[in-house]
Amino acid sequence: MLRSLAVVISVLLLTMTASKAAETVWSGLVIAENVTEPQPVPPELNRIEGSLKKFFGYNEFKVIGQSQKTVRTGQEDWLATSKFFSLHVDARGETPGGYVLNLKLYKEKELLLETEAKLSKRSPLVIKGPQVGGGQLLLVLVVQ
């Protein structure tokens, strides 16, 4: 009987700890373009492919820079970079539904855009950046 009790307690504790497990935030610099033969959407963008196409009107989404950060304390910071752009993400705490993030988009060393957002674990964030050639720079953040 004591053995079965130990099993029950272990399962409960594991369930409780699993709910507090660390999560990964995917941050991507994406170029959206209209091309004749579009490439498949990167797997990170699968769940928002429809929204991206509907909102921005492009048929191809190409990742030019990305970062995958495991957030444990909600105080981490990281950088997603391409050749000319960089997205600096500074986590400023955890909320019941996600994380408070400070985001800065740089073109080389020039700050283009700054924003603060409560990134929800269930809701991706898409930021429309500058026009680049015939396409559009998008910043995408997803809690995986």
């Binding site: 029950v8 409960l12 929204s51 030019i64 752009f85 929800s120 809701s123 991706p124 680049v132 953040l141």
Partner: protein, 174 residues
């Protein structure tokens, strides 16, 4: 035919008479010693009768009343103690306490999950990403503006900027 011991006992109790008495007394080797022993035996008999007879109680009623009270009191105590010593005294053993604790925890978790599940629709907006503030650099993009869209259906939040400086296609490099 009586034995000597039977006749001796009867003689001590003065139950011999007539020729039987004369014959027995004549058979005694020392009649004086026998008479003395008979007298001693009578004295002992009287003493025993006097000392061993049952004494009559002087406060008979009071004594029986005390006895009855004590019996009633003790039987009452037994009635009260019975429920305390019933099997419930063995109920809260350590394994049962552990089971009770585990069961309570499980019920608590189930209730928590149910309550959270019920509250979810009301707090739907909390599960959408929220833009707290946004600004474009006024020096780099003097005409820059920002707007926010929340697509609840797809659970996507969009920060829409306008008026940012356009860049050549080379900037799309990885």
């Amino acid at each position: 035919m009586k034995t000597f011991e039977q006749k001796w006992t009867a003689w001590l109790d003065d139950e011999l008479s007539g020729p039987e008495l004369s014959e027995f007394e004549a058979s005694l080797p020392n009649k004086a010693a026998a008479q003395a022993e008979k007298a001693e035996a009578k004295k002992l008999g009287q003493l025993l009768k006097r000392e061993l007879s049952a004494h009559r109680l002087k406060n008979e009623e009071f004594f029986s009343h005390q006895l009855r009270e004590k019996i009633v009191h003790e039987s009452g105590e037994q009635h009260h103690e019975r429920p305390r010593r019933s099997p419930t005294s063995h109920w809260w053993t350590i394994p049962r306490l552990l089971w009770a604790g585990t069961a309570s925890l499980a019920v608590f978790l189930i209730c928590t999950v149910l309550v959270m599940h019920q509250e979810r629709p009301a707090e739907e907006s909390q599960y959408l990403t929220q833009i707290l503030n946004a600004r474009v650099d006024p020096v780099v993009s003097p005409n820059g503006t920002v707007s926010i869209f929340e697509v609840k259906q797809d659970r996507v939040t969009v920060l829409w900027t306008e008026g940012l400086q356009s860049l050549p296609a080379d900037y799309a490099a990885k």
